[in-house]
């Protein structure tokens, strides 16, 4: 499997970039009041004064023991940080994806049937408008209307504060606005794809033959056309796997949702090397796994596919 070299390549690239970027972690950690002696000490403590290959090797060694490093700017191990945030982001992105797909598939199918009718045109316009909205704009408008004006939903956070554990109603309330923001914006992509794919399938010989043979419309639709239209769709889904774990920085920022995206951005700004590298690795691994899953699904759905 070519996954391992890919991962290694990614980490080397990230590592190299980190060390070229101006403003290293020592300064970011200690602040600009630190004396040069202090910066020197900290640089040494963080091991940043060793040559790059040696640093990289040391990091790989730690990695092989399951140690992703320590985040000085957050006073926690990288593993614990990711453990905290990954589920939150997956929940958010997963819900957004689910809602997006649940809305997009029927919409796309419906649009394929009513192709080029007025309703289809209107739906297309609405869908494209949604696609073209900058996320932060949309998010802020949602907050202004639903949180501030109407006070139906909270502005941000994970759930009600003083409840430990998983409080479902509160979680859902807090998820609605960010999920909507994400789902609406990505809805267009999916529905357009389904629409095009469905229409293409509907024009294929087998679909017309089946119709001509007198099979019920519903049968034609669900068993053949949709299935064939969904096959490439699944691989598209596979391409969204990185986002599932990487999170949406801007949305998490606006809705005060402590997830992977926010951690990533903050670490980049703070030059928190350990966290950045750790997140890259974890995300990379998950992406590879996700693609694998997509490949398997593809094989399941389309019995004609073989892997040599």
């Amino acid at each position: 499997m070519l996954a391992i070299p890919t991962l290694v390549g990614v980490t080397i690239l990230t590592f190299a970039l980190l060390h070229i970027a101006p403003g290293g972690p020592a300064l970011a950690l200690a602040g600009d009041r630190a004396t040069p002696a202090q910066l020197q000490h900290i640089t040494h403590q963080l091991g940043l004064d060793r040559p790059w290959p040696q640093q990289y090797g040391a990091w790989l060694w730690e990695l092989s023991h399951g140690n992703l490093g320590f985040s000085y700017s957050r006073q926690a191990t990288v593993v614990s940080l990711i453990e905290e945030r990954l589920p939150q982001t997956t929940l958010l992105m997963g819900s957004a994806l689910l809602i997006s797909v649940l809305l997009a598939v029927p919409l796309g199918v419906w649009q394929a049937y009513r192709r080029n009718s007025t309703l289809d045109r209107i739906a297309s316009v609405v869908v494209f408008l949604a696609w073209s909205m900058p996320t932060f704009w949309f998010g802020t408008i949602l907050i202004a209307i639903f949180a501030v004006q109407l006070r139906w939903l909270p502005v941000g956070g994970l759930q009600t504060i003083d409840t430990a554990g998983f409080d479902w109603p509160s979680r859902i309330a807090h998820l609605i606005l960010p999920t909507t923001t994400l789902a609406i914006v990505s809805l267009a992509g999916w529905s357009r794809y389904i629409r095009g794919s469905m229409a293409e399938q509907l024009g294929e010989d087998y679909a017309r033959t089946a119709r001509a043979k007198g099979l019920g419309m519903r049968a034609v639709l669900f068993h053949h056309v949709l299935r064939n239209a969904l096959i490439p769709f699944i691989t598209l889904l596979g391409a969204t796997v990185p986002a599932l774990f990487g999170g949406a920085v801007i949305t998490e920022q606006i809705f005060a949702y402590p997830g992977m995206g926010q951690l990533f951005w903050q670490s980049a700004v703070d030059r928190d090397y350990a966290t950045l590298l750790g997140m890259t690795v974890i995300t990379g691994v998950l992406v590879v796994l996700g693609n694998l899953l997509a490949d398997i699904l593809y094989a399941v759905v389309d019995p004609r596919v073989r892997y040599d």
């Binding site: 101006p22 004396t35 202090q38 403590q45 006073q75 501030v148 504060i161 003083d162 309330a173 005060a256």
Partner: protein, 542 residues
Amino acid sequence: MILRRMLATFALLVACSCGARTAETRNPNAVICAWIAGPDGFDPFATIGSAATMAEDLIYTPLIDIGPNLLPSWRTSLAYRVDVSDGGTRYVLHLRHGVRWSDGTPLTAKDVAFTIRLGTNPGLLHGVSADFALMRSVLAIGRHTVEVRLARPSPPFLVNALGEIKPLPERLLGRYPPDTQREAAFVNTDTAFSQHPVVSGPWRIVRNVPDAYLILAPNPSYWGPKPYIQEMVFRVYPEQDSLFAAVAAGEVDVTDIPPNLWRVRDRLPGNHRFISWPWNVTFILLPNYRDPAISWIRDPRIKRAMMYAIDRSFIVTHIMSGQADVLNGPIPTFSPYYDKALPRYSYDPQKARALLDAAGWRMHGDVRMKDGRVLRITLKTGGATDAVANDVAELIQANFKAVGVDCRLENEELQTFFSDVNASRFQLALRGNILSPYPDDYKWYDSAQTRANGGYNFGFYRNARVDAAIESARTAPSLPASRTDLDRYQQLAARDLPALYLFSNRLGAVVPSHLTGYELDPDAPAALPMGLQFWKLTRPRG
């Protein structure tokens, strides 16, 4: 069909959960504060950031608490009395009796001496103020007395150095030989203490969810006045606009209002009071005196011309919505150390032009030239999302242009800006300095205090008279004696202008109108009103 059922279930869930929205917290007697970033830990030697500093102020008893007038506030300090003797070189701190840590063990002189010594370890992420370099010895005498001896007298030592110390338990952190790398490495990475500290202050940590919220409750083992508020919540909203929206939505009670939102504060619905108070900070334009391209900046006439050219009151009124005070020198006007006899630089572009003409820089078209050189400078700001700094920079550019100084603007990402300033890669940098309680500018402007020598004189300013004034102030035998020297320093600085002094921001915050007892501290780390143990709600929230 299935789809319809799913939509119905979803709608039902949504309907149920809307009810949950109305209570962000279940406790009607809680006060909810908010900030942009949460504390990264609770160990003062390993954390940076205003939230962590503020949280530490709440959970630890400070050795010497600095009050709103920048002088010690003994009522809330661990040391109830400090005797200074031997010409200002011997400090004897008398500690309160009966102070306990939250795990029941007593807080003694041993903890204080340990913390002071620990802070001088150069390997720590955040050691203590450099004034501790003067310290020759620190001794715990008995259980309630600490003696500190200095190499020479230092008026700033009490508030700048000792005022920074929050005693930590020696029992838990004193594992390694003092002043070693091992000790530093341990303190820098000790998650156990950093995330779950043993506390000694008025508040204890109920729960901390990093980057989400922090809940504090009164600490039952605190020696002093117990807080009235039973639950203090600090929520994190990384986005300033969302934070403001949260106040408007009633989710947040207390938060700071940055200058660019001050003008819209009265649009916030609900029962709020807006408070503003001085901040011990100065915003300046720092020139780089070593840059050959702007060698003309060493001429004080040009700097004075620039001071006359910038309409600082205008900036304060229109950009900061009045939430700032114009600076006349290195020390803000509200400070007890400010020299009231300082001359002021009014807004006078005519005078500016006259000064520039007198210095030999004549107008050629739009810019001034002399000996074939153009009077051109690049103004660097940090952080693209800081609307106020960018607006200020643009106004300064316009002001300069009006008198013939060609000013280019350059905006850097924040960390890049810090590293550029640190490496003296700038011509004119717009920056804010948070001053210590005693305004000691030694490290900033003394000729010898360049970066290489451990100082912060990023601009390589050199002036022997200013050096002398600063030196005598900080080595005076007593605080009153140092005031005369401080006055002299301010006079010199106002004339020679090591930096162009712009203004001193004020802090602004919103509090519920039924909240009382807060203190307005110019040293407030998180721009929130302080004195939280004295806060009182005259009626429940909600």
